[in-house]
Structures are given as structure tokens and as C-alpha cells.
Symmetry: C2
Subunit: 153 residues, 2 copies
DNA sequence: ATTAAATAGGACTAAAATAGTCCTCTTTTA
DNA sequence: TAAAAGAGGACTATTTTAGTCCTATTTAAT
């Protein structure tokens, strides 16, 4: 259920590598070697991440990529947006999506609300959190009720 | 990002219809007519929902389906599980999934944690909630920009 | 008993999304 | 000016998802 794409997952790994090598420029091929992800794929990911301004690129020889801001300033939501676009949880809730059964749909905006709730929680999680895999401080509201999320481990 | 499949969405609509017609048995074709979803599709959905024990089926003439429990006792998570299987947010976090880059993956269990968080929130939401959530214009911020979500009925 | 109305299960096909590769162009440094 | 990088996009293959259809089984009504 509710999966993110493999590319997004890889994207996180790539970002993680950049976060590690903090100050210096890292080329796509370095990242590919370090992560064992095929170079064309890494390249594609980094281009998309650059367009979304999550990484900054420097062209030319000795060029490469670096995070455009600190790992704490990059949210999981931003990563997903960059690599999958701002798509919603259901088709009919996306902006120009058209829903065949709209007129008889009893469910209406319910999934949207869930979507928003999930989105908020993803905004609370930063790349730094992902790296540390420590307790995630997630707390958000759904349908007016505050929901606390505790994580085991 | 993070979408549920169209079938799951339809499944919710189907369940919503059953919840409406509370006490009596409703045949798959009745549901199909009422929801404007093609009969074979409705049929397929109801079978899956029956296997997951979200609806109870009665075979034979005058047979049909009904919810196996009250709408409040059916969580969004259960619906998703029934129709998409208990898959995780990433491939490598699913139970028997194998991840190519496991050995160098710096992200590790981070997405799993997010997955658990989302899952919990989906367990908090019942079918009854989904039904009530009609027509609430929503507003939230993304990347500092306020975003309005309008629902067209 | 027989027939008709249902569901059960699964095989199959079609369509769409995803993943991955490759080519050509531009930029920059040595 | 050559080599090392990224930019952009076209293209292909694969996988997933959606949707249909067929056959078997169950049950109620006649």
C-alpha cells in the first residue's frame, strides 16, 4: 500500500550520500560508485533534484553536486515532490484529474484529507531524520483530532 | 506521490454504498448500477473485500453482500490492505523484498518508520469518517506557500 | 428436480506507469 | 582546445494496474 517509487527511494540514498560528503562537490559517477546505483539512473535523479532545488549543480570539469541546504532543511515531502510530482493520494483529488464517477461518489474529499494529514507528517521529517533514523517527532491532526505517532525501536 | 490505486478508491465507494444500505443484502449488480462502476470490476472488488472479511457474502439467488461490521469498525488501513496487500512504502521494507543496494544503503529503516506512522494514522480513520467527510474546503501550506484545495462536490 | 440468480475463483488481455538507457548539447577547467 | 562534467530529452523495456471473461458452485423459488 501507499508506496513511494523505487526511484524516490534511490533518490533518498543519493541525497544521503551527498549529505555525508557535506562541503565538497561530488560527481554523479562518484555517487554511482558509492551507492551501487547505475550511473544513468543517478544522473537522472540528480537532475530532477537539481530542478527542484534540493541539490545545486556545478557544471564543467571538476563539477558535481552538493546539497542546496542543510539536511535538516530538506523534508521527506520535498523529496517526494521532486521525484514524483505533487500527485495526490487519489486520482480524483489531483488538480486536473477527472473522475468518472464523480456524480455518485459518496466518498468525496475524504481521501484528500487523509492525504493532507500524511503530507503534514512527511513535512515534519527531514533528510537528517532519515539519516539518523532516530525517533521521529510526528504529531499532526486529522479530522480535528491530534494524532501522536510513536515509533518503536 | 503516495497514491492509492484507483481500485482501492473504487473499493471505498463500493463500501460506502453498502454502508448506506445498511441492513439488507445488496447484489454486486445493484452496487454497479448505483455507483456507475462496471459490474466485473465491482464484482472483483467485492470478492477481495470478502476475502479480507470486510464484507460478508451470501451466495445463491437473492444473495448479495453486506458489511461484516459497522462502518466505524472498518479502518482505512484495512481497506487498503484488503485491496492492495500489506505492502510497504518502499520495496526493501516489505517483508520478503530484497534490495539491490542493501549493503550500501544509508537510509536503512527510515522509510519504514514513516510507513508505520502513516499506517497508524490510517488505522485511526474509519469508513464512517470517510463517509462524513463531505465537502470541506481545505487549506494548507507547502514550501511556505498556502495552497487551497477546492472540492467540486 | 429444475432453473435462474447469485457469488467464487482464476485466467487472460489491455493499458498505463515506472524504470532505465542513450544521445546530443552546453559549460567549465586545465 | 580537449576532456570532464552536467542538462535535457527521446526512447525502450519492464512491471504494475485495470478491467474482462469464463467456468464452477451455491441457493432460492417454482
Amino acid at each position: 500500500m501507499l508506496r513511494i517509487s523505487k526511484l524516490t527511494d534511490y533518490g533518498t540514498v543519493v541525497l544521503a550520500h551527498l549529505a555525508h560528503d557535506d562541503s565538497s562537490l561530488v560527481s554523479a559517477s562518484d555517487v554511482a560508485v558509492a551507492t551501487s546505483i547505475a550511473l544513468p539512473t543517478v544522473s537522472k535523479l540528480l537532475k530532477a533534484l537539481a530542478r527542484a532545488d534540493l541539490v545545486r549543480s556545478t557544471r564543467g570539469a571538476q563539477g558535481g553536486y552538493q546539497l542546496s541546504r542543510g539536511a535538516k532543511e530538506i523534508s521527506a515531502a520535498a523529496v517526494i515532490d521532486a521525484l514524483e510530482g505533487p500527485v495526490s493520494i487519489t486520482e480524483c483529488s489531483s488538480h486536473d484529474g477527472h473522475c468518472d464517477i464523480e456524480s455518485v461518489c459518496a466518498v468525496g474529499g475524504a481521501w484528500q484529507r487523509i492525504n493532507i494529514a500524511i503530507r503534514r507528517s512527511l513535512e515534519e521529517v527531514s533528510l537528517a531524520d532519515l539519516l539518523q533514523a532516530q525517533r521521529l517527532p510526528s504529531r499532526f491532526e486529522f479530522a480535528g483530532t491530534p494524532i501522536n505517532i510513536e515509533m518503536k525501536n
